[in-house]
């Protein structure tokens, strides 16, 4: 019960006085013959009382409201008064007014209340108030005197206890009821004198019932122990079996004593004696089974109102819940009944059947049920009334009513859903009874229809205030009415009342709940482990788009402030919450839960209060996007999520507790910890209309694309696929190389065959000739023999013929092999192409469009804008550019930093911009494009640009440069990339901590990219990033330096200049390479990798130059012996055992299976510059090349025999020579033209041009006359030796020779020569 506000009270009085005036008018008009005016004011009068009733309800006087309503029903029924008021009636109305005013003046006085109630009990009314109801109503008219704030929140059980408190006095009611038994007892005692057994029994039973009622009453008031005592008395003293010999005197006396003591007890329940006396009666010897002492003592204790201990509470629950056996059956088991008091043992069992806990129900839900039930009840009323009037046959009417029962069934279900077991039972009972009424066609019986009407109004009353105990009891007892076809038993009623007790109206405290403190756990963004992969996949698809959609909705909402946008945001938040819960991502679920709650409140509020969300919603939207990114492994979880969740839950709490704040400015100011934000509202929340529209468009496009199904595979699998594709490529390369060698060899075999055939032809001729000669000789010796008869002749011919045949066969096979090899080559070409495509496809799986990070970039800008209170639009161009996901992920931090930098340092404040004649809001453009196999990212802002003078002064201050150092604009601009450089005087939260651009630069370098800054003071800054599109394969040049083939990554490569394209010049002590009119500083490749020591020796003319652009922008020329090829290489890192070597990007396997390092020239030069050498490689090379001259010695080996060529080549190559081979003299001359050899090894006999001829040629050439020539031959005659010496051969070696011999000779001629 609530406090009675004196204001309300005086309001009531005022209204009643008003009513008095109006009543006067009504009564005056009642005199007129024209009743229209009267009816009007009578109606007004009724309404006024209705108002008074409402008012009474508003100030918590439910009883008064009931009384007023009853008065209206009884006395102001307009239907009865259309013909005017009877005189009596008019007087009654006046009387009521007086009584009512008297009551209002002294509500606590018993007399005022009694009179008010007795007025309603006046038999002149159509339905005067029943005794029971009158008592309850009278009690409820008592205004609460000591209002307790906590009362409402207390549980029903404790409310029950409170009823026992002296303050809320139910004792008089009980007393009244008990006093009602005086007369029947007297009658009973009289009858017992008359010896009329049957009458005695009848009146005894009636009397017993009275006590049953008292017991019930006691229970209803929460006086459980009193109820127990009454029941015990009922079972003990009112047992019909005791009447066998009529009513014993002793019995009658005890009954009378009981009554007296009971009344005495009710008068002073707190007196221990009264209770004791009462219980003592039950111990009387007269009873067949009297109460044991222990139980009696306990009962007496329990009867003390002060002993409202915990046990007492339990007992009350127990007794309420235990459907006590019917009293009649209870008689022989009085001990059992007593043992019921042994509550402790029964308690657990009993609680099982009861609702687990008090059900808290929201008022609006009850209202929902009420609003559903009310029209239904109305329709039943109307039906009964109208059909009654029409006197439809009861059968037909019942039939018509049957379908109406469904509604009750549904209401029962609803109640069940809500956990309102009591209400559910009520509806069910009502339904069953109505059904029975319909079947029995009793619907229209006056008694039943009245009952129906009254129970329905009881239900409505109950629904209007479910905590009102009186209304509960009224309702429950109505169902006990014997006029029902299936009435509830007393126990069922008690049980029902108990069930009613388990429902409590949701209080404000319930709605608000506790202010929740968010924990780290609440913002976790980990996905639960056992999630179904398919689900995860669709989750991955959805999360980004949902969070993006939410972000968009929030922005729209802040812009428009329309409720439909709130609802949209709410819906998305709801969906996100569902997804979050589904995957166990607590962070998303808890954030969106709070957002949804707030949105719901805002939506029902009807308008979006200005400034209520401030940046909180935007922050949350960003946070959700970041969470989603994090879930997808695209970034770290946001670090402000905990803070945001707390803010949200605080806001939600505040809204629940105080409603939507109207003056929301306070709220935004009170918003904690948003790090020195400038006051909100200084910039409009919707700053990004343009990009937003764009993303929208793209989203629809991309969603159209997303129809294609996708499969998620682990990145390690892609990695493996990529590796396999790479290996395959390498292998194909190797096969190709082997194949072309085989083809070449096959060609040689063919050539050899041709020669073989020629030789065989020669041989045939010789055999022919020889045969003829010998035949002549033979025939000369012996003419008897015919040449044909000569065996010798035959054998020789046959042999040579067979030789020819075999050679021809071999030739045929060789031809077949050739064509097969050719086919194989074609196939291999196809295979290579397929493999390359396969490789590209696999590479593509790692490619993601820039679009995937677009929202994060936009977010970075938004956050930066909010922090700096600047207004900047970000335009992202080329969002469909595909970039290796590894690179994109490593790039994103840098990009965000650049964007923040652009906003913080680049873009000026609005005032400055306007003063400079620029548009108020700044623009930052981020453009992604592919250039060859490189990605170009250009970040351009239209801000202030770099202030070179400032950079210079700061750099000097920080001693990054000396004051006399002269630097170009470019060099000055690059100073910002130095560690520890910051032009800002103070570091802001965003940027300017002096590690920013340096960190960006480092990251770009790590990605094998380049960073270029270009800025014009006043006109903005342009930062260009150049990155490889993928880190896995590298476009590389294969260069040869000495006999070593190395791969050079094309990073920074500007141009390759082939020998003769430019000139080398010596400038001071440094080499320079001149190409056209440009001069580049030049270095030999070998010197960079510490391959050669002689840096300053004159490089030979025939070198290729590669122009590389350094990170600083300077272009350097690198000279190599030969640029062999340019190809796509799979770069592998050197494995975990090799530490990072500056300048070595990794290693790759070449077509011939050899492993070569992939060098990164700009990095190498940078490393060289900073004196960190590529030591491991340098040493390796030094050991390898014991012959450390400028270039390797070249050897030319000329032999028509393949095996000889090969074995010699192997030997010389092992001796660290660069070997080339030729098959005969003519071929050799071509090779010499190509490149001069340092030593020539030549065979003597060769087709086309033999060794002797070749040596003469070599000696006659000026450029080769000093080249040592070693002749290796099988001719061992002095004549040959002499001829060789004549032609200029330095060493003459005969086959077979030992390798040592040859090596000695070679070394001898070479060292001797040089």
């Amino acid at each position: 019960m609530a406090t009675i506000d004196s204001k309300h009270w005086s309001n009531l009085t005022d209204q009643t006085l008003q009513a008095a005036d109006l009543l006067l008018e009504v009564l005056t008009q009642n005199q007129d013959t024209d009743k229209s005016k009267f009816i009007e004011s009578f109606y007004q009068y009724t309404e006024l009382w209705q108002e008074i009733a409402n008012n009474a309800l508003a100030c918590g006087m439910d009883g008064l409201c009931d009384v007023c309503s009853l008065f209206i029903t009884l006395a102001l029924d307009s239907d009865q008064h259309e013909q005017g008021l009877s005189e009596n009636h008019g007087q009654l109305l006046e009387q009521w007014l007086e009584l009512f005013l008297a009551y209002l003046e002294a509500p606590e006085q018993d007399s005022t209340r009694s009179e008010l109630i007795s007025f309603l009990r006046n038999p002149c009314w159509s339905e005067p108030l029943s005794d029971n109801d009158a008592q309850i109503l009278k009690q409820s008219l008592l205004p609460p005197q000591e209002p307790k704030a906590a009362e409402k929140q207390q549980e029903e059980v404790s409310a029950d206890l409170q009823l026992m408190d002296g303050n809320i006095n139910y004792w008089p009611i009980l007393k009244d009821q008990v006093s009602l038994t005086i007369e029947p007892l007297q009658q009973l005692l009289n009858i017992s004198q008359q010896n009329d057994q049957s009458q005695l029994i009848e009146s005894f039973t009636e009397y017993a019932e009275l006590w049953q009622e008292i017991a019930n009453e006691a229970l209803d008031f929460g006086l459980d122990s009193l109820c127990d005592v009454c029941m015990l008395f009922h079972a003990t003293a009112l047992d019909i079996e005791l009447l066998e010999q009529g009513l014993a005197d002793r019995h009658g006396k005890l009954l009378k004593n009981w009554l007296d003591r009971f009344i005495a007890y009710l008068e002073t329940p707190e007196d221990n004696k009264t209770g004791n006396d009462l219980v003592n009666i039950l111990q009387d010897d007269f009873w067949p089974e009297s109460l044991p002492d222990d139980d009696a003592k306990m009962l007496a204790d329990l009867l003390l109102p002060e002993s409202n201990t915990v046990e007492n509470k339990k007992i009350s629950i127990e007794t309420k819940q235990t459907p006590a056996p019917e009293p009649q059956q209870q008689e022989p088991t009085i001990n059992d009944s007593a043992s019921d008091l042994d509550f402790a043992s029964n308690l657990e069992v009993d609680l099982e059947n009861s609702p687990a806990e008090i059900k808290v129900i929201a008022p609006d839900l009850l209202e929902l049920i009420r609003s559903e039930f009310e029209p239904y009840a109305e329709s039943i009323f109307v039906a009964i009334e109208s059909e009654y009037a029409k006197t439809l046959s009861p059968e037909k009417f019942s039939l018509a009513m049957l379908p109406q029962l469904e509604e009750l069934e549904m209401l029962a279900k609803v109640s069940e859903t809500l956990g309102l077991q009591g209400l559910q039972q009520v509806f069910e009972v009502l339904r069953n009874n109505m059904q029975a009424l319909c079947t029995d066609k009793l619907m229209l019986e006056k008694q039943q229809s009245q009952l129906l009407t009254s129970v329905m109004s009881c239900i409505l009353h109950y629904l209007a205030d479910i905590e009102n105990v009186a209304r509960r009891i009224l309702l429950a007892e109505h169902l006990q009415n014997p006029n029902w076809p299936i009435p509830l038993s007393g126990n069922e009623v008690r049980k029902l009342i108990a069930l009613f007790g388990y429902v409590r109206l949701q209080s404000k405290a319930d709605i608000i709940g506790e202010r929740e403190i968010a924990s780290e756990d609440d913002v976790a963004v980990t996905i639960q482990d056992d999630i179904n992969p398919e689900l995860l996949e669709s989750l991955y698809d959805e999360l980004p788009s949902l969070t993006e959609e939410f972000s968009e909705a929030v922005r729209q909402l802040l812009k428009s402030g329309s409720i439909s946008d709130v609802e949209k945001a709410q819906r998305i938040a709801h969906t996100l919450k569902g997804s979050g819960n589904l995957a166990g991502i607590k962070g998303i679920a808890s954030l969106t839960h709070n957002i949804e709650e707030i949105m719901e409140k805002v939506a029902s509020h009807g308008s979006v209060p200005k400034g209520i969300f401030d940046t909180l919603l935007l922050d949350c939207a960003d946070c959700l996007e970041a969470m989603s990114d994090s879930v997808l492994g695209r970034g770290n979880p946001p670090d402000n999520s905990l803070d945001l969740l707390q803010q949200l839950s605080d806001l939600s709490y505040q809204i629940k507790a105080e409603g939507i704040p109207e003056a929301a400015e306070e709220l935004s100011l009170a918003k904690p910890k948003t790090e020195g934000f400038t006051p909100p509202g200084s910039f409009p929340p919707a700053t990004e209309t343009k990009p937003v529209e764009k993303t929208d468009k793209e989203k629809t496009e991309s969603s159209a694309d997303s129809v294609e199904t996708t499969t998620r595979i682990s990145s390690s699998l892609v990695e493996d696929m990529l590796r396999m594709a790479g290996e395959n490529n390498i292998l194909t390369g190797q096969i190709q190389q082997h194949l072309s060698e085989t083809i070449e060899q096959n060609l040689t075999i063919r050539k050899q065959h041709t020669r073989l055939l020629n030789l065989i032809t020669e041989l045939e001729q010789l055999v022919e000739e020889q045969g003829t000669i010998s035949m002549e000789r033979v025939s000369a010796l012996n003419e008897e023999f015919d040449p044909l008869e000569m065996d010798q002749y035959n054998e020789l011919h046959t042999c040579s013929n067979r030789l020819l045949e075999v050679a021809t066969d071999a030739m045929t096979i060789t031809t077949t092999v050739s064509s097969q090899l050719a086919e194989l080559k074609d196939l291999l070409v196809v295979q290579e192409r397929l493999q390359r495509e396969n490789h590209e496809l696999v590479l593509k799986t790692r490619m993601v469009p820039v679009q995937s990070i677009e929202s994060r970039l936009q977010r970075a800008i938004r956050q930066a804008c909010r922090t700096t209170a600047k207004n900047v639009n970000l335009h992202i161009i080329g969002t469909d550019t595909l970039i290796d996901s590894d690179i994109l992920n490593s790039l994103i931090d840098s990009l965000m930093h650049m964007l923040r930098n652009a906003v913080d340092h680049g873009i000026e404040t609005s005032e400055q911009r306007l003063a400079a004649g620029k548009p108020e809001s700044g623009n930052v453009t981020l453009e992604f494009s592919l250039r060859g196999d490189r990605i170009l990212v250009v970040c351009q802002d239209d801000g202030g640009g770099l202030d070179l003078a400032r950079i210079r002064s700061i750099a000097e201050q920080k001693r990054l440069i000396s004051s006399d150092q002269s630097l170009s604009a470019k060099e000055l601009q690059r100073l910002v990339l130095k560690p520890g450089f910051s032009t800002r005087d103070s570091a802001t939260q965003l940027s300017g901590r002096g590690i920013g651009m340096n960190a960006v630069h480092d990251q770009i370098l790590k990605l094998k990219g380049e960073l270029d800054i270009d800025s014009q003071f006043g006109n903005g800054t342009r930062i260009t990033l150049t990155l490889p599109a993928t880190l896995v394969s590298v476009r590389a040049l294969l260069v040869r330096s000495g006999n070593q083939v190395m791969a050079i990554s094309n990073r920074g490569l500007e141009q390759i200049l082939y020998p003769g394209a430019g000139k080398l010049k010596l400038l001071g002590n440094k080499w320079a390479y001149q190409h056209g009119d440009k001069l580049y500083s030049a270095r030999k490749f070998e010197t960079i990798i510490n391959y050669s020591i002689a840096e300053n020796t004159t490089p030979e003319g025939g070198l290729s130059a590669m122009l590389f652009k350094m990170e600083s922008g300077e272009i350097k020329a690198i000279l190599v012996d030969q640029v062999m090829d340019s190809r796509e290489l799979i770069v592998k890192n050197m494995g975990q055992y090799v530490p990072k070597i500056n300048g070595v990007a990794g290693a790759t396997i070449l077509g011939d299976g050899s492993v070569t390092p992939v060098l990164d020239i700009p990095e190498l030069l940078r490393a060289n510059h900073s004196q960190t050498m590529v030591q491991p490689f340098a040493q390796d090379r030094l050991q390898n090349s014991h012959n450390n001259t400028q270039h390797l010695r070249r050897a030319l080996i000329i032999d028509d025999s393949l095996s000889a060529r090969r074995s010699l080549a192997q030997l010389l190559s092992d001796m660290n020579y660069e070997v080339s081979t030729a098959i005969d003299g003519i071929d050799a001359i071509e090779k010499i033209e190509e490149k001069l050899p340092d030593i020539i090894l030549v065979d003597l006999e060769m087709p086309r041009m033999n060794g002797l001829e070749l040596t003469s040629h070599v000696r006659n050439r000026t450029d080769t006359k000093d080249v040592p020539v070693i002749m290796v031959t099988s001719r061992a005659t002095d004549k040959h030796r002499q001829q060789a010496k004549n032609s200029g051969v330095d060493v003459y070696l005969t086959k077979p020779f030992s390798e040592n011999e040859l090596m000695d000779q070679i070394n001898k001629v070479v060292t001797g020569n040089s």
């Binding site: 839900l365 929902l368 819906r571 569902g578 997804s579 589904l582």
Partner: protein, 121 residues
């Protein structure tokens, strides 16, 4: 009533996948719909034996869709079970008042869904 075909309605693909997986895992034939409108059309055409319906959907929400289904002779007897993370009791009451047979609150366990199916089987 023997249940062979079950219509599952949710506007969010992942939620749809989740419940679809559970229902299909029990050997029922599953029809899916991603909007209230689609649900109504499919229910009319394919006459499922049971419908699991999300409440919160854009445009035509679960309530509207089930009203439509209830109002159509061909579909009025198909039992509908609402599936929604709307943990608000008012929705349950509304569901009941609209004659919706049952209600499952997200997040749910597969057992809960199966239980509902068995209830109507």
């Amino acid at each position: 009533m023997a249940i062979s075909t079950i219509l599952v309605v949710d506007d969010v693909a992942s939620h749809l996948t989740e419940i679809q997986g559970i229902v299909a895992g029990q050997g029922y034939q599953v029809i899916t719909a991603q909007s209230g409108q689609e649900a109504v059309e499919k229910a009319k055409k394919q006459q499922p034996d049971l419908i699991f319906m999300d409440i919160v959907m854009p445009e035509m929400d679960g309530f509207a869709a089930s009203r439509e289904l209830r109002g159509t002779a061909a579909t009025k007897d198909i039992p509908i079970v609402f599936v929604s993370s709307k943990d608000q009791e008012a929705d349950k009451v509304w569901a009941r008042l609209q004659g919706i047979e049952d209600y499952v609150t997200k997040p749910y366990t597969p057992e809960q869904i199966i239980e509902k199916i068995n209830k109507f089987a």
